[in-house]
């Protein structure tokens, strides 16, 4: 057996680099996917979050029905739902509404609501000025809480869209948030590995 020639080693080096880059590309697909969804508004992800940065004129000539939906992810015991199932808003108008959540269990829990908009075309025109979904929601045992949501539909919304469905899926993140708390508390613990 002879040693591989220098020419062979150049090919090996290039191909190895290509393989490593493709491994990185696999991971890069995760943020790229988010960017892609953000640009195109696909996947129903609401991207216009936080205080309004532009002034808008209320378009009173149009009424948009906003249907509010709530779903519990599997195993989530809370009761969770909108205070009003459907609201009617003018584009440009800021509207406050509430979701109500109660924790029927005997232990304090933490939840996170993940929103989704249908049709996905409308997602980029939904502004959420303030939303309970921005933060994790802790709730003591047997407590009930009204959670505020302030939204505005952009007047640039295409005219063929008359109804927008805003759906929240509620996830139980008690375990993760406890772990996070434990991790921040236990500064002495240098490494946290759960297997």
């Amino acid at each position: 057996m002879t040693q591989p020639t220098a020419k062979t080693m150049i090919i090996v080096r290039r191909l190895t680099i290509a393989a490593v880059l493709m491994f990185g590309f696999g991971f890069a697909l995760a943020p790229l996917y988010d960017v892609f969804c953000k640009i195109t508004g696909l996947n129903g992800k609401v991207t216009q979050n936080g205080p309004l940065t532009k002034t808008v004129v209320i378009d009173t000539s149009r009424n948009i029905r906003v249907q509010l939906i709530a779903v519990n992810n599997e195993g989530m015991p809370w009761t969770f739902g909108p205070k009003t199932d459907e609201i009617s808003v003018h584009p440009g108008e800021q509207r406050l509404t509430h979701y109500i959540a109660s924790n029927p269990t005997a232990r304090p829990m933490v939840a996170r609501a993940v929103p989704s908009v249908a049709p996905s075309e409308a997602a980029q025109y939904v502004h959420k000025i303030s939303c309970f979904c921005f933060e994790a929601q802790p709730l003591a045992s047997l407590a009930t809480q009204e959670m505020p949501l302030v939204l505005m539909i952009d007047p640039e919304l295409p005219t063929h869209i008359r109804t927008i469905t805003l759906s929240y899926t509620l996830f139980d993140i008690t375990e993760q948030s406890q772990n996070d708390a434990a991790a921040t508390a236990a500064t002495a613990a240098s490494k946290r590995v759960e297997l």
Partner: protein, 540 residues
């Protein structure tokens, strides 16, 4: 003469080589010889083919009748998952790598693969990877049960604990594939004999070159996606967990970005094999060599932009559905060119029907059926009806069993006399072909009908109206499965003896490997042959 033992001087200038294999079992562990490693790959893949086949028979036995008879649903899910993983990564891919090892150096006139030590390593990783994978069957919680596509969150949040073993097994077989691919590319680009220009390469070499580039492009993405699963499961990340801001649909995108090129990795070398065999037995030059090369390249490039046709039903915007639908259908064009070329090669040829030719013709016909059902699945609006039904099962088994597996069998029959120096028994070979042919069609053709009628895949029980066709499919599966024992017998018998084959083996075989004596010597082409004939099989 010096005191060194008499050896073939040109073969042994450095005194480093032995003229034959080392004695004993360690030969197989330490070998860096491309022929030894090729044999190891082929034997390994045959073993995996048998194990995966037994799992398929468990599935078909359970589906023989409606209701639950033999296995619990949990175990049934493990069987479908392991069957898929083992057949894809353990049987088909290593078999092609084995053929590449045996044939590429002989076809391009090289003494060995470019990186013999790495070659040894890339094979010997595999037994460990698959031991790890198979060991999950005996673990608490059972083997992976989430389907060979291991969609999150089935494979993360709801996975059995053994999923970690599965992840590391995938890592290992990925490393093995990448090293194998690097070796193939380096060999083809660097070790060609003088005069063997790229457009004189036999098509098997061309298709493998393109396959190797696909492997390097997508196996790391597979490694990436299982690594994301690993960190989601054990280290608290949320790539695929919606509760933490991730997205399970992202998993499907990344998986199929790997998965679609992967299905071409399993079929392009088959195209190459068939393009070698058909001209030999049609006694004509391959029709349209250049268009074959271009068609293979365009299929490979298109494979990167069609992945989402596997996920039409996840909720894509209309523009996305249309893009993936049309780009998928575009693949039918180069594939059609290939099928046309094979048929045109046979047209007015003086054909004989030895076993490799029978398998190759069956490949052309049955692969085309699988391709056409793929075209049906590519129609986005129709796919909502076909998605996750037995129609999909019928489609991909038609392209993989009478496609990839038949081509591997054709290749084994075709080159076996070159490898062993003996002809196999032609009568037994033809018997094996006809049993396999009938078995395959009996198994998979009825699945088209039950799929269109709405029977979902990956279920251990089904509605009564599907009973008859399922029974037929199960009978066919057992016929096909047990006829492979005949294949094993034929190969063993051929290795041990038989009618002696001359160097040419087949009357009209062309290419450098047929200039070597049969059986091919342990070390071949220690000095590059000079390729001066203007045309090689398929060359212009």
């Amino acid at each position: 003469m010096q005191t060194a033992p008499a050896q073939n001087p040109p073969m042994n200038p450095s005194g480093e080589h032995h003229s034959g294999p080392a004695p004993g079992l360690m030969r197989w562990v330490l070998t860096t010889n491309h022929k030894d490693i090729g044999s190891l790959y082929l034997i390994f893949s045959l073993l995996m083919f048998m194990i995966g086949g037994c799992m398929a028979l468990v599935i078909r036995a359970e589906l023989f009748q409606p209701g639950l008879q033999l296995v619990r649903p949990e175990f049934f899910n493990q069987m479908t998952t392991m069957h898929g993983l083992i057949m894809v990564f353990g049987a088909v891919m290593p078999a092609f790598v084995g053929l590449a090892n045996w044939l590429i150096p002989m076809m391009v006139g090289a003494p060995d693969m470019a990186l013999p030590r790495m070659n040894n390593w890339s094979f010997w990783i595999l037994p460990f990877a698959f031991t790890m994978m198979l060991s999950t069957l005996f673990m608490e919680g059972g083997a992976p049960n989430f389907g060979w596509t291991f969609y999150a969150p089935l494979s993360t949040t709801y996975a059995p604990p053994s999923v970690t073993y599965f992840i590391f097994a995938v890592h290992m077989m990925g490393i093995s594939s990448i090293m194998g691919a690097i070796n193939v590319i380096a060999t083809i680009l660097n070790l060609r004999a003088p005069g063997m220009t790229m457009m004189k390469l036999p098509l098997f070499v061309w298709t493998w070159l393109i396959t190797a580039f696909l492997l390097i492009a997508v196996m790391p993405v597979l490694a990436g996606v299982v690594t994301m699963m690993l960190t989601d499961i054990h280290f608290g990340t949320s790539f695929f967990d919606a509760a933490g801001g991730g997205d399970p649909v992202l998993f499907q995108h990344v998986f199929w970005f790997f998965g679609h090129p992967e299905v071409y990795i399993m079929i392009l070398p088959a195209f190459g094999i068939v393009s070698q065999i058909i001209p030999t037995f049609a006694r004509k030059r391959l029709f349209g060599y250049v268009s074959m090369v271009w068609a293979t390249s365009s299929i490979a490039i298109l494979s990167f932009i069609v992945w989402a046709h596997h996920m039409f039903t996840v909720g894509m915007p209309l523009a996305g559905e249309l893009f993936f639908m049309y780009s998928t259908m575009l693949i039918a064009v180069p594939t059609g060119v290939k099928v046309f070329n094979w048929v045109a090669t046979m047209f007015k040829g003086s054909m004989t029907f030895e076993t490799p030719m029978l398998f190759s013709i069956a490949f052309v016909v049955l692969f085309t059926i699988g391709g056409l059902s793929g075209l049906m699945l590519a129609i986005a609006p129709a796919d909502f009806q076909y998605h996750d039904t037995y129609f999909v099962v019928a489609h991909f088994h038609y392209v993989l069993v009478p496609g990839a597996v038949f081509s591997i069998m054709a290749a084994v029959y075709y080159w076996l006399p070159k490898w062993t120096g003996n002809y196999y028994n032609e009568t037994l070979g033809k018997t094996h072909f006809w049993l396999s042919f009938v078995g395959v069609n009996l198994t998979f053709f009825p699945m088209h009908f039950i799929g269109l009628a709405g029977m979902p895949r990956r279920i251990p029980d089904y509605a009564l109206q599907f009973a008859d066709f399922n029974m037929v499919a199960s009978v066919g599966a057992f016929l096909f499965g047990f006829s492979q024992l005949l294949f094993v017998y034929i190969v063993i018998r051929c290795v041990r003896g038989g009618e002696r084959a001359d160097a040419r083996v087949w009357e009209a075989a062309e290419g450098l490997e047929w200039t070597l004596p049969s059986p091919a010597p342990y070390h071949s082409f220690s000095e590059h042959p000079v390729v001066d004939q203007p045309m090689l099989p398929g060359g212009r």
